[in-house]
């Protein structure tokens, strides 16, 4: 059992460990609550360690595939042979998302220790949390379309049950119902698209599909269904209405991991459009004079338009909220808009290389893609930290309405510092990580169209305004008599917030390190799908 064996099997273990842990939790909980909490944290810690091992290997040696149940039966021979099995494929993009998921999962379970104390039904809570984490990692690591659908549903079901965890509050159950309606319809769209693709190409493997993609009329329908289905779960306007409710009413640690599952759906959009349909993004659609309109241009413009609306609605709605968690939820909608703005901008610039015929990103497109991918991790950390702070305030002062708060900085010293870090990061102020990625997005979108960059900067300023208002309302001001007994939150919550805050500051101070080491491989993996296809079909076995 040396390190190489563990790394070889780690794609399967990353999903298997939390899944096994989930069903062991009720048994372990029979001993006592403390042992159960330690067991859950150790399970997630082990998963995070496996992600770290796999990441160091994938970033050094390139893509890894894991075939469940051995190499045979194999279709084809030689270079084009592939196993008809469920495959897990891990390249730069997968491992990048897995790193995000592991950070959020670890912080979430550590935070849960103190935050959820005193609630009943915690055995089920931890089981569901671990199931959700397993589903999230499965979505991220799988290379099989149907497997992706199954993990999507596992994540939806456990996330829905967790959103409605406080069943004594009617509004939480309402939010859970909204979430399950949206996500099950989205998942059924995805399944429909998978059926269409399977009917044509007789394959469920993403690389095989990408390789044999003909881009027929049916494929266009499948593309629309896939993107619409996954965008519903990612919370793009106009399919965003579940998101503020679900984020705002779930327990804070659940919201933190929910941010991770939303990002996993976002990853699904990227994987489908860049890898599965990657070879056909430059299909010419229409000739107008000398200019050919490619699919990439049309798709990019649609995504950019949706992204701008998402940013505007998210930020403007955040400004008028009086409930702390709802306000952060709308800010999260806006942040997802930034990611899509960058991705859409990158898609518009995809063209064919005149020499080799391969699809490449031109000019500022590469910068936009890197900025967008970098912003995925920054968004997860910033918004996650703010949700944890909101949870800490709720835990300490039992208050979520901004109108009724005030002077809490006297009681909650560390929480105030963490909130300031989150505030600066989410509104893109230096020296936090949000600044690094937003600057890349501003620069690249400015070269495509200055108006996009202006809207993006303006919305960042509005976001800053909204959060400064919160800072003033909740933390500054005179001491309120009803908050005299409020004490600093317990250590486990401070540790969870501290982990995320440290990573935010580290990313903000050394953005080059992050961009070169984990963002660049992810961007390369998305920009060129031929490596993915050849590695999985040919050399992977």
């Amino acid at each position: 059992m040396n390190l190489e064996t563990i790394i070889t099997h780690s794609p399967a273990l990353i999903v298997a460990v939390p899944l096994l842990g989930a069903f062991l939790t009720p048994l372990v909980a029979k001993i006592n609550d403390k042992v159960r909490n330690i067991f859950v944290i150790l399970t997630v810690g082990l998963t995070a360690f496996l992600v770290y091992l796999l990441a160091s290997d994938v970033l050094a040696n390139g893509i890894r595939t894991y075939v469940f149940g051995g190499g045979s039966p194999v279709i084809g021979s030689g270079e084009s042979a592939f196993a008809i099995r469920i495959l897990f494929e891990v390249d730069g993009m997968n491992i990048f998302m897995a790193i995000i998921a592991s950070i959020l999962a670890l912080a979430g379970v550590i935070y849960s220790w103190a935050f959820m104390k005193g609630n009943t039904g915690l055995d089920k809570y931890y089981t569901l949390i671990l199931l959700m984490i397993a589903g999230m990692f499965g979505m991220i690591l799988t290379g099989d379309m149907f497997n992706f659908f199954v993990f999507l549903e596992i994540t939806s079901i456990s996330a829905c049950a967790l959103i409605a965890f406080w069943t004594n509050k009617g509004r939480a159950v309402d939010a859970g119902f909204k979430y399950i309606v949206i996500s099950s319809i989205g998942a059924l769209f995805v399944l429909f698209a998978i059926g269409i693709l399977y009917g044509q190409y007789n394959a469920l493997n993403m690389a095989v599909l990408a390789n044999s993609m003909q881009y027929t009329f049916l494929d266009k329908i499948a593309l629309v269904l896939l993107i619409a289905g996954l965008a519903m779960k990612a919370g793009i306007v106009p399919m965003h209405m579940w998101l503020p409710d679900a984020y705002g009413r779930a327990p804070s640690p659940v919201t933190l991991i929910l941010v991770g599952t939303t990002q996993a759906s976002l990853y699904g959009v990227l994987r489908m459009s860049f890898t599965v349909y990657g070879g056909h993004l430059t299909t010419p659609l229409k000739q107008v004079g000398d200019i050919t309109i490619d699919l990439s241009l049309l798709l990019g413009i649609v995504i950019v338009a949706l992204a701008i609306v998402t940013i505007l609605i998210g930020v403007l709605m955040a400004l008028k909220q009086t409930n702390f968690k709802r306000m952060i939820a709308f800010a999260a909608v806006g942040e997802i808009g930034y990611i899509f703005l960058a991705i859409g901008t990158a898609i518009t610039t995809i063209t064919n290389d005149p020499n080799t015929g391969a699809t490449i990103l031109t000019g500022s497109g590469e910068m936009a893609l890197k900025g967008g991918i970098f912003h995925i991790i920054n968004d997860a950390l910033d918004v996650g930290l703010l949700f944890l702070v909101a949870g800490a305030i709720y835990y300490a002062a039992k208050e979520t309405s901004l109108d009724k708060m005030g002077g809490l900085a006297r009681n909650l010293k560390y929480t105030t510092v963490f909130f300031l870090i989150g505030l600066l990061a989410v509104s893109g102020m230096p020296p936090m990580n949000g600044f690094a990625s937003k600057l890349m997005i501003y620069q690249s979108t400015y070269q495509i169209n200055p108006i996009l960059a202006i809207v993006a900067i303006l919305c960042s300023i509005l976001l800053l305004a909204a959060f400064v208002k919160v800072f003033h309302a909740a933390f500054l001001g005179p001491k309120l008599p009803k908050f005299t007994g409020v004490k600093e939150v317990p250590k486990s919550m401070l540790i969870a917030m501290g982990i995320i805050a440290c990573i935010i500051i580290f990313f903000g101070l050394f953005p080059d390190f992050v961009v070169n080491n984990i963002v660049q491989p992810a961007a390369n993996a998305l920009a060129d799908n031929s490596i993915y296809i050849t590695q999985v079909i040919g050399g992977g076995l």
Partner: protein, 115 residues
Amino acid sequence: MIFNIPFIAVAALVLIGLYAVVFKRNLIKIVIGITLIESGVNLFLITLAYRKDSTAPIYTASPGGIMSMPVPHALTLTSIVIGVAVLALMLSLVVYIYRHYKTLDVRKIGGGEEE
């Protein structure tokens, strides 16, 4: 034409289901709409598997000739199991919503001040 009837049924089921989800105001009817969409998608997968004159792929004493594709059948079984779980979860949430608001009308639930 006769072979297209399953596909027409698929389209009809999915569209009726979507109509129910979007326009109906009763929570139970929304849940029914989702199960209709799910049945449509399952029927689509089954229809994909069928070839003319094919036998079931579990039939060991096959009279010869072609068999229908087993993979979509496996996908459908998985999808049905997931569908049951989702349905049970949705209905249990409906029960909770009814206990809180004493109504199933979507216009009357979830309103009021944020807690």
